[in-house]
């Protein structure tokens, strides 16, 4: 009988039962094959040792990271394109929680006037928690007038932190200790200022109000056709992605949203918007509780999906957001006129730890 092949000898080591009896018996009685088997065994053991080293893995952390990446996959930033509402939609989607929120409480003021006056500047952030069904009913700004995007989203990657600062004037915070599972060097991104102008339309607003089953209250004198300028940014971010579609960690700073209009004080404007009856009552009542000076940025979160809680970062009040599925965490706070966010597919403790150890060059 001819000698079994090296491949058969190799399998004999791992799965002897799979080898034909005749081959097994041959090897047992053949000095040449036994010698060959010994070499095969030595090589297998050496390579096995060289390839060994089963690592300890944190399955929960891995799952959080994967969930975050999957969630993000379906929602890449879209660059605004096309005219009118579509363009605003593209803008609105990414900045909804920021610009849109500010404007909903502050953007509608009365009495067109010759000069732009600041009516809103975010200085603090307060979560507004409501069922998702309520939040999706909230009107788009383009339901109240005509939106024109004056400075589109310009998101781009830059070489390093210095380039990011040069482009935006904002320092990129330095992370002292990366959480476990976050590796590599960050990529740096900048977004220029984003701005839009809303020209209030009593007719459009009446339609929106009517479709909500309400009646438009008397429009304040001079409101129809008046304009509001809304802006946010620029912003910088460092993202640790390591080739993944969604970063494991993002640290970002931004100039918070502002709104400008003319004439009517913030409180009057807000009260008018709330009087339209187009906001869900539980949202409206939370907004009413905000201070009347136009400095509180509402951070809309759905009660079913996200837990928001108050915390602090270096003594500054902060809001911690954790989806109920635990896939990620984010902490957001405002300090010295700059909005800072630390977010990632991490635990709340990890995100807070990064946030509290950030070093920002002033």
């Amino acid at each position: 009988m001819r000698h079994p092949t090296d491949g058969t000898l190799r399998r004999l080591l791992d799965e002897p039962a799979a080898i034909a009896d005749a081959d097994r018996e041959h090897v047992a009685g053949c000095p040449y094959c036994r010698s060959g088997l010994a070499v095969v065994q030595q090589d297998a053991a050496l390579v096995g040792a060289a390839l060994d080293g089963t690592p300890d893995v944190d399955v929960d952390a891995g799952w959080r990271r994967l969930s975050g990446a999957l969630v993000a996959e379906g929602s890449q930033v879209t660059v605004p394109a096309g005219p009118g509402r579509r363009r605003w939609k593209a803008l609105r989607s990414p900045v909804a929680a920021v610009v849109g929120a500010a404007v909903l409480v502050s953007g509608v003021t009365a009495a067109a006037a010759a000069e732009w006056l600041p009516i809103f500047r975010a200085e603090q952030i307060t979560p507004v928690v409501a069922p998702r069904a309520d939040l999706v009913q909230m009107p788009d700004l383009s339901d109240l007038g005509d939106m024109e995007v004056t400075e589109r989203i310009d998101l781009r990657q830059v070489a390093d932190a210095a380039a990011a600062k040069k482009a935006t004037g904002l320092s990129v915070p330095q992370v002292n200790t990366l959480p476990r599972g976050v590796t590599g060097r960050p990529t740096f991104h900048v977004v220029g200022r984003v701005s839009a102008t809303l020209t209030f339309s009593a007719e459009k607003t009446a339609g929106t109000v009517a479709s909500a089953g309400k009646t438009l209250p008397p429009t304040l004198p001079g409101l129809d056709g008046s304009r509001f300028r809304l802006a946010a940014g620029p912003a910088v971010a460092a993202a640790w992605s390591a080739g993944r579609p969604m970063p494991a960690l993002i640290v970002a700073r931004a100039v918070p949203p502002t709104a400008e209009s003319s004439g009517v004080p913030f409180r009057t404007a807000r009260d008018y918007l709330l009087s339209l009856g187009v906001l869900p009552e539980n949202v409206a009542s939370q907004l009413r509780a905000f201070s009347g000076d136009g400095t509180t940025l509402p951070l809309f979160t759905t009660i079913e999906k996200v837990t928001s809680s108050a915390t602090d970062v270096g003594g500054v009040p902060a809001t911690l957001l954790v989806p109920r599925d635990g896939t990620m965490a984010a902490v957001i706070w405002m300090d010295r006129g700059v909005l800072t966010v630390v977010a990632g597919s991490l635990s709340a403790d990890e995100v807070l730890s990064v946030a509290r150890e950030l070093k920002v060059e002033r």
């Binding site: 092949t5 090296d6 491949g7 058969t8 000898l9 190799r10 399998r11 791992d14 799965e15 095969v40 065994q41 030595q42 090589d43 053991a45 050496l46 390579v47 040792a49 060289a50 390839l51 080293g53 089963t54 690592p55 893995v57 399955v59 891995g62 799952w63 994967l66 990446a69 999957l70 969630v71 993000a72 379906g74 929602s75 930033v77 989607s93 990414p94 998101l155 599972g181 590796t183 900048v190 977004v191 940014g233 912003a235 910088v236 971010a237 390591a242 080739g243 993944r244 579609p245 993002i250 970002a252 759905t302 999906k305 996200v306 957001l321 989806p323 599925d325 990620m328 966010v341 977010a343």
Partner: protein
């Protein structure tokens, strides 16, 4: 970056992404350590292996691979992806080399301290340096040989390796044997040239 942050939050808030298979979490929790281990055999680094495992599960999450074939599919995908990383040099070589130097120093210190090194090569201590050479050699192997080798050493049976690589179980032994022989030669070549 506010934009991306806000959008990310928004999307996280809204719902699970559509098109992701329902059994993903269950499969993930069962198979993740195994998938990381496959990639770690190729890359020699847990962090890099976890990156590969994430990549593989992202693809799997969008796939319709039958649940019963998930582990085999994930293992072979991890081996392929990790080998591609190895070949394209998407690795943090400097860190690896630093670790290698440290390990070599400690190994040499131990050897110089009078420890008896077993003459049996199978029991010999495999140094970090050797591991690095093995991975370099892995990168040079024909792809299928390398995948078969890694999967076999990750605990897949011959039948499983055969199924995922579309080989006969008999030829798996031959493929694995060739790969091991090539790697051993690579190690010996370096050992004799040291």
């Amino acid at each position: 970056m506010v934009a991306r942050r806000a959008e990310w939050k928004d999307s996280a808030v809204v719902s699970s992404p559509p098109g992701v298979r329902a059994d993903l979490e269950q499969v993930f929790r069962t198979a993740y350590p195994r998938v990381v281990a496959v990639a770690a055999r190729v890359l020699g680094s847990r962090d890099e292996a976890e990156d590969v495992a994430q990549e593989v599960f992202l693809t799997f999450g969008r796939s319709t691979v039958p649940a019963g074939e998930a582990l085999g599919w994930l293992s072979v995908a991890a081996a392929h992806t990790a080998l591609n990383h190895l070949r394209t040099g998407r690795r943090r070589a400097s860190r690896e080399e630093a670790a290698t130097r440290a390990a070599t120093v400690s190994h040499e210190a131990a050897a110089g301290g009078g420890e008896v090194v077993s003459p049996d090569v199978a029991d010999a201590v495999v140094t970090r340096e050797e591991r690095r050479r093995v991975r370099e050699a892995l990168a040079r192997l024909p792809h299928r040989q390398a995948v078969a080798l890694v999967l076999r050493h990750s605990g897949l049976s011959y039948a499983e390796v055969a199924a995922v690589l579309d080989l006969s179980p008999g030829s798996v032994g031959t493929t694995v044997r060739r790969a091991e022989s090539a790697l051993r030669k690579e190690l010996n070549r370096h050992a004799s040239s040291d």
